[in-house]
Amino acid sequence: MKKVILTLTVLVVLAACVVGIGFATGYIETPGKHKSEQNAKTAESLDENTPRVTLTVDITRVLDTEDYSLPENDEGYILNGEYALTEGESVFDIVSRVFDNEDIDFVYSGGDFVYIKSIAGLSELDLGDMSGWLYEVNGESPMVACTQLIPENGDIIHFYYVDSFDMEEESE
């Protein structure tokens, strides 16, 4: 019993240390701080020299779907604009702060390799067994998760919803 208590205490102290270091290095943030920082980055004014990316979220491929209420969109685009890019940000980092800033709900899962399940209420598997969100950078489908890819200045990041990713491969 003494041993168990000792092990538990050591574990709790270790966990507390990890969390403390996380807070100190900015690895872990409180929601308020996170939000204000992200919004500041997004609201940065774009002058000619600011590094930027174009981010589009597009549902044109499923726009003619009947019997399903699609999220609010502008002729098939939920989002289409240029946003400031901070050095070292991954595609996921940009997307998450822009979506937060634009008040677009999105759901994702995974630790290091994030998979985006749903954007603006349109989620995977909503329009069939093979439907879901895919992404392209400069017209090419990257073979890595969106957390692993670091975009460069001027890149075009394109998220799109397909009702069957199988058909997608055949047509290309």
Binding site: I28, F92, V107, S109
Partner: protein, 301 residues
């Protein structure tokens, strides 16, 4: 519980396990874990109960803390870790999963203690004598083998096989003992098979003696467990279900479901408590005990 027919015990406990496993609801997990622990408190040793309680709490806490690292659904953000949201709902989901998993493990352990091997054989042996043979052989095999291993080891120790200090020689000695053990077990199984063949095992239906007959109480227990579990599943499935994401929301029949499932999982506890009370308040027992008999004798004089 000792007076009940094994089939009634099996049905009652597996109904509780089934609902715990298939109803993904935080209330169901809490109810099931609570009554499983209560049952363990009544039937297990004090030490086992505290061990199980501690393990359940630690496991649940661990699941609750780690699930939000991988599942980022839910509205209530608590923290941001490396730009990923850490949500309260994901914590609840982890806690619910941990509780129901722990509860199922405790229920299955209880099933094992409340249904001794003999009763398990009685229940399943009639369907297939081969299965009964396999069960009884595997159940006896490991303890018998361990006992033989200690005996072999002790015998070899006295003959000085473990005297060498080098690791390789020690390993070799262990290998020698193990090979002897394997040879013994193969020989023993051949012996058993031949002996059972000679006794015509498997050539006719196997009989198992069981003093208990299914009584009205057992039938009532079985009927009540089946009816309650079906009722619980219907209440769980109909209308809105319990949802963790995006916000914790109880199902539309959650209260009724909780009541029915509570009754179902409380049934074994109630039966046990009733039996214990009956035993405590059983006056003939007091009269029969030697001290009271002596006392009454003394007063009588």
């Amino acid at each position: 519980m000792k007076l009940m027919h094994p089939l009634a015990k099996l049905v009652m406990l597996s109904a509780a396990v089934a609902v715990t496993m298939f109803a993904r609801s935080l209330t169901a997990a809490c109810i099931s874990a609570f009554f499983a622990l209560a049952m363990l408190f009544l039937h297990g040793e004090r030490k086992d109960f505290f061990k199980a309680l501690g393990a359940l709490l630690i496991f649940t806490a661990l699941m609750a803390l780690t699930n939000p690292l991988f599942a980022h659904e839910g509205r209530t953000a608590l923290l941001y870790i490396k730009n990923r949201v850490y949500t309260l709902e994901a914590m609840f989901y982890g806690a619910g999963t941990g509780l129901s998993l722990g509860a199922v493990i405790i229920w299955l352990g209880l099933l094992n203690t409340l249904l001794p091997k003999r009763e398990q054989l009685y229940l399943f042996g009639r369907f297939s004598p081969k299965l009964a043979l396999i069960i009884s052989m595997t159940l006896g095999y490991i303890p018998r083998m361990r006992e033989k291993l200690t005996r072999l080891n002790n015998a070899q120790k006295t003959s000085g096989i473990y005297s060498s200090t080098s690791t390789s020689a020690e390993l070799q000695a262990h290998a020698t003992v193990f090979s002897a053990l394997a040879a013994w077990s193969v020989e023993a199984s051949v012996d058993t098979a031949q002996a059972m063949n000679a006794r015509c095992y498997g050539s006719h239906r196997t009989c198992f003696s069981m003093r208990r007959k299914i009584r009205t109480g057992d039938i009532l227990t079985i009927a009540a467990s089946i009816a309650l579990s079906v009722c619980a599943f219907v209440l769980y499935g109909a209308g809105e279900r319990f949802r963790y994401y995006p916000e914790l929301s109880f199902g539309s029949n959650e209260a009724a479901f909780a009541a029915v499932f509570g009754l179902l999982s409380a049934m074994p506890v109630m039966i046990t408590v009733k039996e214990r009370l009956k035993w405590r308040l059983f006056t003939a027992k007091n009269l029969a005990s030697p001290t009271t008999a002596a006392k009454s004798l003394r007063f009588g004089r």
